[in-house]
């Protein structure tokens, strides 16, 4: 279906929430301005703009279609009245300008209101055209198209903290773009002999504060940190993060489940979070040999890996995100002082999980209309791995693996989260007192 959501991203203020889908469309939601008299709810999100970002293409050389599915959307920080975002499919990145028009000029001398030209001989007086209000129109126009720079499928885009450059990563290469001009390649792991290829790039991100630093993750569970000041081609990493394999958990699927599907820096830039198939790991940038924290998302799947390999679920790419940066998070009724202290990620059966790094508590929630009435508090869920199933628990075998939550986003300032199931977007907010 064309409306399978493939990416979700809040802008820097949190006022706008963009979603991309498999049909190449971008839908932007806007938060209503808070009604001061109604303090019990924050503004709701309503559709603000919809536009077709990418169309399907055909690669005649390989006789293959290029999917129009939007893989990632990243917002640029707002500099003027207009909003800018980058959206990308497998091959092409586009810079879109989203602008509002709520006034239009009226009172031209030579044109009628409907645009027809007036006979100049009938003009007897001159007037100055004025702007009059009109119904709000939101227009999206492509300002730049960055194409033909990726042989393989683009999996990540990340905007630099200098706000002038951004990177794009495919399976084997990372390119650096200047928003105005051109690109250059900064990472290339393509082997001379493709038969020797055993590892691909899975995600990449710029450091939030250091504009010459970025990281990229691989299908073997490693993360490399690179400094662009070291050399033009960052084929030598500055740091290599990798956890040694736990021999007691070794299986045929060890490599596949170690493949990192997402990497996100913390707001301070001191930590980064990675998501592999079964867990979320927090790394301290100063310690390369192991993560400082590991959270199990759905460990009960470890005994099902063969089936999950057979039905391809083991290749699902779950994303992860930190809580918003500016507010102290009072989650699970606990006061916290750490800014990046909650991590959120999705799972199957429309479940998503949150982990509180300070208290080590975690919660499983479900994004589904059937099981949650609007404006009621979400009920925590529990999966029963084995043995007797308690009431309200769900057994592993009854999980629906078609209902996967791959994309989640956290409002940068408030405790509002956006959770995308296959076809629907859910927006949750914390209970206000």
């Amino acid at each position: 279906a064309a409306d399978i959501i493939s990416t979700v991203e809040f802008n820097h203020s949190g006022e706008l929430l963009a979603t991309g889908d498999k049909g190449g469309r971008v839908v932007i939601f806007q938060q209503e301005q808070e009604n001061k008299t109604q303090s019990h709810s924050r503004g709701e999100y309503n559709v603000y703009s919809t536009f077709q970002s990418h169309e399907p293409e055909f690669d005649y050389l390989k006789s293959l279609e290029i999917e129009e599915k939007i893989n990632k959307i990243r917002w640029l920080p707002q500099k003027n009245a207009a909003q800018f975002l980058l959206s990308t499919n497998d091959k092409t990145i586009k810079l879109w300008k989203i602008s509002e028009r709520d006034k239009r000029p009226e009172g031209y001398n030579l044109k009628e209101e409907d645009g027809r030209y007036r006979d100049p001989t009938t003009v007897t007086t001159l007037r100055v055209p004025v702007f009059r209000p009109m119904d709000l129109m939101v227009e999206a126009s492509p300002r730049r198209i960055f194409a033909n720079a990726h042989t393989y499928h683009i999996n990540s885009i990340s905007i630099n903290s200098d706000y002038e450059t951004y990177l794009s990563a495919d399976d084997l290469r990372i390119n650096l773009w200047h928003l105005e001009i051109t690109d250059r390649n900064i990472v290339d792991i393509k082997p001379a002999n493709m038969e020797e290829l055993t590892e691909v790039i899975t995600a990449a991100e710029f450091h939030p504060n250091s504009c010459s630093t970025f990281v990229y993750s691989s299908s073997k569970g490693t993360i490399r940190l690179c400094d662009m000041r070291a050399s033009a081609l960052c084929d030598r990493h500055s740091k290599l993060f990798e956890e040694p394999e736990d021999p007691s958990n070794r299986s045929f699927f060890s490599e596949i489940i170690s493949s990192i599907s997402d990497v996100k820096f913390s707001h301070s830039g001191r930590y980064m979070m990675t998501r592999d198939y079964l867990s979320v790991k927090i790394w301290d940038l100063n310690m390369e040999n192991r993560p400082v924290e590991t959270y199990q998302v759905h460990e009960y799947l470890r005994s099902k890996l063969c089936s999950l390999y057979e039905n391809d679920c083991i290749f699902d790419k779950f994303e992860c995100c930190w809580n918003g940066s500016d507010r102290q998070v009072e989650f699970l009724s606990l006061c916290t002082s750490n800014l990046s202290n909650i991590v959120m990620t999705g799972s199957y059966n429309n479940f998503f999980r949150m982990f509180d790094r300070n208290t080590k508590r975690d919660i499983t929630l479900e994004a589904s209309r059937e099981n949650n009435k609007p404006r009621t508090v979400l009920k925590p869920r529990k999966v029963c791995a084995s043995g007797k199933r308690k009431k309200d628990e769900i057994s592993v075998d009854s999980l629906d693996f078609n209902k996967k939550i791959l994309h989640t986003a956290w409002h940068p300032k408030e405790n509002i989260i956006a959770v995308a199931t296959t076809n629907n977007l859910y927006i949750f907010q914390d209970k206000m007192n």
């Binding site: 293959l64 290029i66 399976d171 038969e195 299908s219 045929f252 063969c306």
Partner: protein, 315 residues
């Protein structure tokens, strides 16, 4: 004859094949380990070679599956392999028998001769005319250095059930995509397959779905599922370090194919004698004592042929 195993239940399969991998050196667990490994091997092959998406397949997924296959192959190599048979599959261009000739243009592909040697015997107690493969293994003429396998002994027949089933279910998927087999195969299929689930592997494999390449070398076949997205030229394969033999015959259980030469239409009737030497040459290719390299024409001594015939006939 393989049992009429029903589709494996989720739970049973889980118990048998999931969970922690036991060390291959554990005695009783070795069987389940090799079973598990074989299943995963088959699934991996299926994934790589069985679907032709309209869009480029994910490079990450392909790389991970290839790594899985390589790892298993490495393991098999390390375990030391003397497993014979299936050598002839290295001649993809040669039709193994007239029966499959019409399938050649569509499927002269790596899998065709590899998986379909019509004369492979099942490890199951077969009809009386055949010697169980386990006996054949011990005969020197059956060895081929090029072939890898997963250990000196075959797993006991009942234990094969889950493997066959998982493979069969995958094959069933292919079956759905395939046109109906020709009458010759149908005869072979009916007689050979006791399994109500469907036709044996060979019929399905013969009529593989669209997208399979024309006859080429084994190596270039290996890269077929990865057109373009690796920028590989036609002459190199993504897995050229794995020969056809290595990949396909390392662990293949002939029991899956359930082919009973005694009743097949390929002419290996219960009496071998009336069969022409040519036909025999083709059908008995796997038992060649020469190490066969890919794409070399098959050669065999007639004296060896006689010897083989004797063994097969059980005289």
């Amino acid at each position: 004859m393989l049992g009429k195993g029903g589709k494996r239940k989720f739970d049973e399969h889980e118990d048998g094949l999931e969970g922690k991998v036991v060390s291959p050196t554990d005695g009783p667990s070795k069987v389940s380990y090799t079973l598990q490994r074989q299943t995963i091997f088959n699934i991996s092959l299926m994934k790589l070679y069985n679907h032709r998406p309209l869009t480029e397949p994910s490079l990450q997924k392909t790389v991970l599956i290839n790594n899985m296959l390589r790892r298993i192959q490495e393991e098999l190599k390390q375990e030391g392999s003397l497993r014979p048979m299936f050598v002839a599959a290295s001649q993809p261009a040669d039709p193994l028998s007239d029966n499959f000739r019409e399938a050649q243009p569509a499927f002269s592909h790596l899998a065709s001769p590899a998986l379909l040697p019509p004369d492979l015997v099942s490890t199951m107690p077969l009809e009386s005319c055949l010697t169980p493969a386990s006996l054949l293994e011990d005969d020197t003429f059956c060895t081929s250095p090029a072939v890898q396998h997963d250990g000196p002994t075959k797993p006991p027949p009942p234990a094969l059930q889950p493997v066959k089933d998982s493979f069969s279910s995958a094959l069933d998927e292919i079956e759905e995509l395939c046109p109906a087999p020709t009458s010759a195969e149908a005869v072979a299929a009916e007689s050979a397959a006791g399994d109500a689930k469907g036709q044996p592997g060979e019929s399905n494999i013969i009529h593989k779905p669209e997208g399979l390449p024309e006859s080429r070398t084994a190596e270039s076949k290996l890269m077929e599922p990865l057109p373009g997205n690796f920028e590989i030229t036609a002459s190199t394969g993504f897995l050229t370090d794995l020969t056809l033999d290595d990949i396909l015959f390392a662990d293949i259980d002939t029991s899956m194919y359930d082919f009973d030469p005694c009743t097949s239409a390929t002419g290996a009737a219960s009496k071998m004698a009336p069969v022409s030497a040519d036909e025999l040459l083709k059908t008995l290719a796997p038992y060649s004592s020469q190490p066969v390299t890919p794409n070399q024409p098959f050669k065999m001594d007639l004296t060896e042929l006689d010897h083989i015939m004797e063994v097969l006939v059980g005289s």
